[in-house]
Symmetry: C2
Subunit: 149 residues, 2 copies
Amino acid sequence: MTDIAPRRVDIVFHAVGRVRRDVREPNAPQDIETLRATPARIVIEKAYADALLGVEPGSDLLVLTYLDRATRDVLSVHPRGDSTRPIRGVFATRSPDRPNPIGVTSVRVLAVEGLSLEVTGLDAVGGTPVLDLKSHSESFDSPYRAGGV
Amino acid sequence: MTDIAPRRVDIVFHAVGRVRRDVREPNAPQDIETLRATPARIVIEKAYADALLGVEPGSDLLVLTYLDRATRDVLSVHPRGDSTRPIRGVFATRSPDRPNPIGVTSVRVLAVEGLSLEVTGLDAVGGTPVLDLKSHSESFDSPYRAGGV
């Protein structure tokens, strides 16, 4: 068994779109449910139009975002910013602050107009770069249990 | 309403760890359940040790991986490589081939030994760079429904 040599290789992505909504400043953790309940738009860049085929009203998607306001050198936090909760490593939380700040959030598509999706469920603020959209999958997104869900 | 100017800004991440398992070649889609049922290891780099505090046997995590064998200029596919299924945009699928090939898969932690996690549920092959681990969240990972799950 050999050790894995630490190789600091750059992994480079480009936004495929952006979140558009009025709220542009990150909210306190306790306001996230309000933000999610408020419809937002995801505008996809023209170059990726063909990737939207089959995304339609009623689709359940995972949205992957680049949390560009997050702090990347944070390794442990009080969950939800609540100092009464014991410190946990960010890999055991959903903190936006983490080494690779990628947000994963399920949304429901309300409407599709060309490159613009209206969704509910999104917790990202306006201007946030979108990295990926995926169809929701019970198999990949629910807690894994051997032998099936 | 102004258009979003296309800005091709590099978004750079670095692997926080790597998948270690014997299978190193991508499987056919129909073999994924076998791969997931077979325990695998995720080895985190020493610099991120503190981010693991609270990750323990029984934890349900989402693992975000960089699918480094994927094809990034694919925008539409036959889902699961099945040519009898109609073409869909990759944003309506879980295809590994997509502009920003980030895998999202739920796993269950079986054991933690220092920087090494033994997990089941992982569909990534050996050598795959790991971008992030997150605690599973019913709220963020289940289909979004206004008014709560």
